[in-house]
Symmetry: C2
Subunit: 82 residues, 2 copies
DNA sequence: TTGTGACTTCTAGTCCGTA
DNA sequence: GTACGGACTAGAAGTCACA
């Protein structure tokens, strides 16, 4: 099954957020985006723009290079993994 | 001066398009987007979404990993460089 | 072959709520 | 703490004529 970019980015956001024990609400506040929107992005139901994505990456305190490196690894970032 | 993600992605798209001697029109046709839209994205005046970006990356016949690897290198992808 | 302004349609993103 | 819904506004998608 083909993974879309939206799926990959969603996975990476959730991964780096949880790695810092950060809540969706905290990420929302830090990035200046809405909490329900962060929720939608992580569930791959939202098609985010580059500007908003950059705000999230910055809020995660990582660089775009680090972020996309994980996001575009082609090991399947499966939702079933804890 | 701070480079935005929009700038980096714009640079990478133009880079890989030109590397294949592909015109904006050809890239537009291959990606299913409008030629003037591609033009806007390459000039960083459009804030593209992930779905549109994925169409472009696919049309460039490269993987997201390869694409973002170039896009997020932090050597300044300066417009003044030929 | 590409840049640009102007435009309409559609969706990104917000804000309110419920479970 | 998160998912999900409805209603709304800002801004992206998508196209055209012309330089």
């Amino acid at each position: 099954m083909q993974k879309t970019l939206v799926n990959s980015i969603a996975f990476a956001i959730r991964h780096y957020r949880k790695a810092q024990n950060m809540s969706q609400e905290e990420l929302a506040n830090r990035s200046g985006l809405d909490r329900t929107y962060i929720s939608g992005v992580e569930r791959s139901v939202r098609n985010i723009t580059l500007e908003s994505l950059e705000q999230i990456i910055t809020a995660l305190r990582i660089t775009p290079a680090v972020f996309f490196n994980l996001a575009t690894r082609d090991n399947d970032n499966d939702v079933s993994n804890k």
